[in-house]
């Protein structure tokens, strides 16, 4: 399946914004970026699995984009072909209601990434089978999400020795 066919098939079913990007390498590589609202999101992901039952889920990139939180899901379709299809699905949620449906029942491999984003960005994945913390220690304060850029993130007094390499003060020096 070519990227064009895939875009056509998705456009038939969903109202989404799709654009492609291309690398300037010897073998140009097309990547499909799909922006979808969180209501259609799960249906779209299920549709991907219909298209290719062996679709490979790779990563969730959670981001704090100022006024809203976004999550980019990267999928690889037809992973045994050359070239395979590389699809990035972007969905977003407002900060006051940070909820995105969980993909635990569609792609079981997404659960660890959801746990990761849940603790780092405070996105709540609805219906996640295993909501425990994965990376952060169990005694990390609740309600602080390290990768948030707003007041819920790390405050400056929590950070030491993680600044610029040349700004470490030596003992005794002012």
């Amino acid at each position: 399946m070519t990227p064009e066919e895939l875009i056509k098939r998705i456009k038939e079913r969903f109202e989404v914004e799709i654009y492609t990007s291309q690398t300037k390498t010897l073998h140009p590589r097309e990547r499909i970026w799909i922006e979808v609202s969180r209501n259609d999101f799960k249906e779209l992901m299920k549709y991907f699995q219909e298209i290719d039952p062996h679709a490979q889920f790779s990563i969730i990139i959670g981001e704090d984009r100022g006024d809203h939180l976004s999550a980019t899901y990267h999928l690889e379709l037809f992973c045994e072909n050359s070239p395979s299809l590389s699809v990035a699905v972007i969905t977003s949620c407002p900060k006051e209601d940070p909820k995105i449906p969980s993909l635990g029942d569609v792609f079981p491999s997404s659960v660890p990434y959801e746990r990761e984003n849940q603790e780092f960005l405070g996105i709540i994945f609805e219906g996640i089978p295993d909501p425990r913390r994965l990376f952060l220690p169990d005694d990390f304060p609740e309600g602080i999400y390290p990768l948030r850029l707003d007041e819920k993130g790390i405050t400056p007094e929590m950070v030491k020795n993680a600044g610029h390499p040349y700004k470490i003060k030596k003992e005794g020096s002012k």
Partner: protein, 430 residues
């Protein structure tokens, strides 16, 4: 969980355990020695790289990314530069692509030889460990000669590579390939294809069937050992790899069967050693004379990147599997708004944890070693160590103070007064 679980033995493997090279925790529930359930807890090696990345520019980030991990330092670096190049639409000279391929394959050789030894050690076969690491020294020497370091050779830069491969390097590498072909590989094949101990321990241990591998999206040799023909260099048509005749290696070509066990994963690694050597030789034959980087100076690259917009995804087949880096530009500044990395160990760990259910305790170290875990890659995200209630952040000085106190408590007679050096924290120079 039902109430019966109370009577089963639970064993923590990790964070500090001889089976693991790096800290992480496997919580293993045992019935006798049969594993009933495996749970994973990560994050003992958190360094907050993503957070740090928001405060770095693209060139500084290059070094930070390289220091995610020592073994696959080239892979992370390479993937990151590809993500940035895709984001900004930068073209890479063809010679640079060939040099990247050569260094990448050299790194693959050293990583696979390392893993062969580690698996040998995990089954108590220390001779394999010592001999394969002895063989690995040769490629480490080459990498040191080219990049100046045994690890973290800093070959990549945005839009090309930093150093050219000269004629003397070429001679050394070809000599090394001859040595590996004639002296090392026959022994490696003898051990990993025919040795009775290896066969007894690795066959039918930690089986990841193809269905589970697809479901958990296993990567790299773990997926190929289960029979999935997945190799990012091939799927993605990365760089010049299609010209070099890349194809995914599955154990079928060597043993004729695919079981998805530890043995198959090791067979894939042995096959990839052969393939890497072929690729390097082909790359030397086809390499054109050209410049090696697009931008002569780093600040030129930064000036170009300041104008970049959008996002880029870089993918590369590291020795352990697919590495993905994501970079989103912050137009007008010289640093990215977001950088995020995903390393192959992360999905592989969950796949292997699933596969361990029903196996024996004795299979745990070898199954973990067989995915070649790189946990410092996996735990790259958070920042601080904080205690409940009051926030308390431990700096290097605090840690030093705590350790001095502890030493004093243990032995009050010690007089030495260590001082804070500053800078090094959890493997990353901050």
């Amino acid at each position: 969980m039902n109430s019966r679980i109370e009577y089963w033995v639970k064993i923590p493997i990790g964070p500090i355990h001889p089976a693991l090279e790096e800290p992480e925790k496997f919580i293993i529930t045992l019935d006798g020695e049969r594993i009933i359930h495996v749970d994973i807890k990560l994050g003992y090696n958190l360094r907050g790289l993503e957070w740090i990345a928001m405060r770095r520019n693209y060139i500084q980030l290059l070094y930070l990314v390289e220091r995610i991990c020592g073994i696959c330092s080239f892979s992370h670096n390479h993937t990151y530069t590809r993500a940035v190049e895709e984001m900004a639409g930068i073209e890479v000279p063809e010679r640079a692509e060939y040099i990247r391929a050569i260094i990448g394959e050299l790194e693959r050789i050293h990583s696979h030889l390392l893993n062969l030894g580690v698996v040998g050690h995990a089954i108590g076969y220390d001779t394999v460990l010592h001999l394969s690491w002895l063989a690995r020294e040769r490629v480490m020497d080459i990498l040191e000669a080219i990049g100046g370091n045994r690890v973290n050779y800093a070959m990549n830069t945005i839009g090309g590579v930093r150093r050219d491969i000269e004629e003397k390097h070429k001679r050394m590498i070809l000599e090394m390939i001859r040595y590996y072909r004639e002296e090392v590989m026959p022994k490696v094949e003898e051990i990993f294809l025919y040795d009775p101990t290896v066969e007894a321990r690795l066959r039918d241990a930690g089986v990841i069937p193809k269905r589970i591998a697809l479901e958990y999206s296993a990567q790299g040799p773990t997926a190929r050992g289960s029979g999935i023909k997945k190799d990012v260099r091939y799927n993605e048509q990365l760089g010049v790899y299609p010209e070099l005749g890349i194809r995914p290696i599955t154990p079928k070509e060597f043993t004729g069967v695919i079981k998805g066990d530890v043995f198959d994963r090791m067979v894939v690694r042995v096959g990839e050693l052969w393939q890497s050597m072929e690729i390097i030789e082909k790359a030397f034959d086809q390499m054109p004379e050209d410049k090696i980087k697009t931008f002569s100076k780093d600040n030129v690259a930064l000036a170009k990147l300041k104008k970049a917009e959008g996002a880029g995804i870089g993918r590369y087949e590291a020795p352990r599997g697919e590495t993905i880096h994501y970079v989103r530009a912050n137009p007008g500044t010289d640093g990215p708004a977001k950088w995020k990395a995903r390393e192959p160990t992360f999905p592989n760990l969950f796949a292997v944890a699933r596969a361990l259910v029903g196996e024996q305790l004795a299979d745990v170290p070898v199954a973990i070693a067989s995915i070649d875990p790189c946990l410092s890659c996996t735990d790259r995200v958070a920042i601080i160590d904080s205690k409940t209630g009051k926030k308390k952040v431990l700096t290097e000085k605090d840690l030093l103070k705590a350790s001095i106190e502890k030493t004093k408590e243990i032995n009050p007679n010690i007089k030495a007064k260590p001082e804070a050096v500053g800078g090094i924290c959890g493997g990353v120079r901050l």
